[in-house]
């Protein structure tokens, strides 16, 4: 009975994940695309939970579906109608080539996984109940993976400084604004 329940939730989450992924790519309005991406990230969090990554599922919802997507929605609101680049697709051979490239990539990944791993993928390791819990992840981050933790903090700091620099007005833009006002 438990197995069937897990499978049912898994299929639901995977279906929602793939469906909302397609929706992100196909919606014309970036606002709807961003909303679809929130659904995508939330259903991915369910898959993370089923793969016993509890802390990551929580971080996914908080950091991604929460903070990052709110930032996206703010920028889309700021751009207003200008964010709407219609789905022109360019010449038809470009779209056809894109579909062929994406399909080739998919087939390649599946074939490589099938050849390399075979049935080794069905033998999952036994894990303790605390696997993937915040306590475990935190302990590893402050012991074995301390360097990665520190580098991550530097990356975030650099990104924050970069965001501020990109956000400040340059002298050219001030002149552009003045020209726009006088015209």
């Amino acid at each position: 009975m438990g197995d069937i329940l897990v499978w049912a939730i898994w299929i639901l989450a995977a279906g929602a994940c793939l469906g909302s992924g397609i929706a992100v790519v196909s919606f014309g309005n970036p606002f709807f695309s961003a909303l679809a991406l929130i659904g995508n990230l939330a259903s991915l969090a369910v898959l993370f939970l089923l793969a016993s990554a509890e802390f990551l599922a929580a971080a996914q919802v908080l950091v991604y579906a929460g903070a990052v997507m709110v930032m996206f929605l703010f920028v889309i609101a700021y751009l207003g109608g200008r964010a709407d680049t219609p789905f022109e697709g360019g010449p038809s051979w470009v779209s056809a080539g894109a579909v062929v490239a994406a399909t080739a990539l998919l087939v390649e990944i599946v074939v490589v996984i099938g050849l390399k791993a075979g049935d080794a993928l069905s033998r999952e390791a036994d894990i303790e109940r605390s696997f993937g819990s915040p306590a475990e992840i935190g302990r590893l981050f402050l012991t074995d993976h301390l360097l990665a933790f520190e580098i991550t903090s530097i990356v975030l700091l650099v990104a924050a400084i970069g965001g501020v620099i990109l956000g400040t007005k340059t002298r050219d833009e001030d002149e552009l604004d003045r020209l726009g006002e006088s015209a």
Partner: protein, 102 residues
């Protein structure tokens, strides 16, 4: 209680990654290109987490967290660039960005 094998997770992750690739190549709005990039990063995260489950080892999850942090920084810089482009009153279309000049 046993759910699906790791191979199922990997198949979902591969399909999701291909959807992201399709979005990056097909769409012309830089915002949607960024959103598709997020899909690709998350597909990679799903693969990392399912391999972590397979081996019963936390390293994959730690790596996925690092990917999340890098993705957040990428969004900050990418959105900053898009806003800067929009403020210069240029057309938001990736096909028209031909020169990177300050």
């Amino acid at each position: 209680m046993r759910g699906p094998d790791v191979s199922w997770y990997l198949i979902v992750s591969a399909i999701l990654f291909s959807i992201g690739v399709l979005g990056v190549i097909l769409r012309r709005s830089p915002l949607i290109v960024l959103l598709s990039l997020e899909i690709m990063l998350n597909a990679a995260n799903l693969a990392l987490i399912s391999f972590a489950r397979l081996h019963g080892d936390h390293d994959g999850q730690i790596f996925a967290l690092a990917v999340m942090a890098v993705a957040a920084s990428e969004v900050v810089v990418g959105l900053g660039l898009i806003v800067a482009v929009a403020r210069r009153k240029l057309v938001l279309d990736v096909d028209r960005f031909r020169v990177l000049r300050g």
